[in-house]
C-alpha cells in the first residue's frame, strides 16, 4: 500500500488519515473533501487516479493543516513516529512538510524498525530536511526540479534559498549537478529531475531523458511536479521497478499535460483529469513494445533468451 504524507494550507485542518478517492475536482479522505489546486492534494489526486486505473487499492493519506508555522507538521511528525512501525505500507511518499531536522531524525529512527524496509520517496520540504540532515542516501527516490537539484548539488546549502550563485539552475548542466549531488551523498538512490526535460539519474549518471511531448506553458504552472511525484509513487507501489516507473511517469505526466492543452494560466486539475487517458496510452505502447520484442526473439530462433544487463 502507498502512504502519502503532507500538508494542506489551513490552520484548522485536523490530522486526517484514510483512503484517497477522486470525486469530481476534489479528493475525498473519509468524510473530508479537499480541493485539488496544488501541493499535496495534487500529488494525492494524481496517485489516486493512477491506482484506480491499475486496479490497486487507493493510496492512504496522512494529511494535516499547516500554513508554514510548522505546528501541523510537528503534530504529523510525532504521529508518524509512533504509528509507522505498525503500518502495512510498502511505499511512503513524503511531501510538503516543514523541514525540522530533529523530527526528521526521530522519524527515520522509527522507519528503520519497519521490515521489510518500505520504498521511500521524498519531494518538496521533506526532501529539503532529508538533505539538511545528511540522510539523503536512506531514500529510494527524490523528485527535485532543476532549482532543487542545484540545492542538492550544493553541499553547503541547508535550504534551496541559500544555493550558491555559481551553482546555476542551468538546464545544460544537469549531469554536472547530478554528479555533484551524488559525490557528497546528497541524493537518493534515484533522482527524477523534473523540468523542461525530465531526467532519471542514479550514481551512474543520467539513465534516461524524456522531453516529449513538450508544453512550454507547463513550466510556470504550479503543481505539475506534484502530479509527477504522485504518478511515480503509485506506479512504484504497484510493483513496477523504480527505473521503469520513473520513465513511465515522466511520459504519462507529459502526455496528460499535452492532452490538457494548457496555457500558463491553466490549473493542475486540468492535468489530473487527463492522467487516466495518458496512463492507458503509455500502457498500450508498452504492451506493443513487449510483443515486438518477443516476436523478434522467436523469429531469430534463439533458444536462450539473453538476460537484460
Amino acid at each position: 500500500m502507498l502512504g502519502i504524507v503532507g500538508t494542506v494550507p489551513s490552520e484548522t485542518f485536523p490530522l486526517t488519515t484514510g483512503e484517497i478517492t477522486l470525486v469530481g475536482d476534489q479528493i475525498r479522505i473519509n468524510d473530508a473533501f479537499v480541493a485539488v489546486s496544488r501541493g499535496t492534494p495534487a500529488l494525492m489526486a494524481a496517485a489516486a487516479a493512477v491506482s484506480e486505473i491499475l486496479g490497486q487499492p487507493p493510496p492512504v493519506a496522512y494529511l494535516i493543516g499547516d500554513i508554514g508555522l510548522g505546528k501541523g507538521s510537528r503534530h504529523l511528525y510525532k504521529f508518524l513516529t509512533e504509528y509507522l512501525p505498525h503500518s502495512p505500507l510498502q511505499t511512503l511518499t513524503f511531501h510538503y512538510l516543514q523541514p525540522i531536522i530533529h523530527w526528521h531524525e526521530r522519524l527515520q529512527n522509527s522507519i528503520k524498525t519497519i521490515t521489510p524496509k518500505p520504498c521511500l520517496i521524498a519531494d518538496a520540504g521533506f526532501m529539503y530536511v532529508a538533505k539538511m540532515s545528511g540522510q539523503s542516501s536512506l531514500y529510494d527516490l527524490f523528485t527535485p526540479d532543476i532549482g532543487e537539484l542545484a540545492f542538492l548539488a550544493d553541499e553547503e546549502a541547508p535550504h534551496p534559498f541559500y544555493t550558491r550563485g555559481f551553482i546555476l539552475h542551468d538546464e545544460n548542466r544537469v549531469s554536472e549537478l547530478i554528479a555533484r549531488a551524488y559525490e557528497h551523498n546528497n541524493a537518493a538512490r534515484f533522482l527524477l529531475v523534473k523540468g523542461k526535460k525530465d531526467y532519471l539519474a542514479s550514481r551512474d549518471g543520467i539513465l534516461e531523458m524524456i522531453d516529449r511531448p513538450a508544453e512550454e506553458a507547463l513550466e510556470a504552472m504550479g503543481g505539475t511536479g506534484d502530479t509527477l511525484t504522485g504518478i511515480v509513487s503509485a506506479l512504484i507501489d504497484s510493483g513496477i521497478m523504480i527505473e521503469e516507473a520513473s520513465v513511465m511517469a515522466m511520459t504519462i505526466n507529459r502526455l496528460a499535460g499535452h492532452f490538457a492543452n494548457p496555457s500558463p494560466a491553466s490549473q493542475v486539475m486540468d492535468i489530473v483529469r487527463h492522467i487516466p487517458r495518458a496512463l492507458t496510452d503509455v500502457m498500450k505502447r508498452k504492451d506493443t513494445a513487449v510483443v515486438q520484442k518477443c516476436q523478434k526473439t522467436t523469429s531469430r530462433f534463439t533458444p536462450i533468451r539473453r538476460s537484460s544487463k
Binding site: 545544460n172 548542466r173 549531469s175 549518471g205 543520467i206 534516461e208 531523458m209
Partner: protein, 72 residues
C-alpha cells in the same frame, strides 16, 4: 551496459564513424561519446538519431562535450 567512445581531437567524419561502429557492435544500450568541437557534437547526435538512438544528455566541460546516447 555502457560504453565510452573517445573521439576528442579527431575531425569529421571519424567521431561519427566511431560512434556508428559502437552502435553496430550492438552490445551497449548507452554510449557516451567525447568530442571537442561543436560540429562533431552535432554530427554525432544527428547520426545516432538517424539510427534510432536518442541523445539524453549533452554536457560541456572545458571546451569538450560528452554526448550521452541511449537505445530503448
Amino acid at each position: 551496459m555502457s560504453k565510452t567512445v573517445d573521439a576528442r581531437g579527431l575531425s569529421c567524419p571519424q567521431p561519427v564513424l566511431m560512434t556508428l561502429d559502437e552502435i553496430k557492435v550492438g552490445e551497449a544500450r548507452k554510449i557516451e561519446v567525447l568530442v571537442d568541437t561543436d560540429a562533431s557534437k552535432e554530427n554525432v547526435s544527428r547520426a545516432a538519431e538517424s539510427q534510432g538512438w536518442r541523445v539524453i544528455d549533452t554536457a560541456e566541460k572545458g571546451g569538450e562535450y560528452r554526448v550521452t546516447l541511449k537505445k530503448d
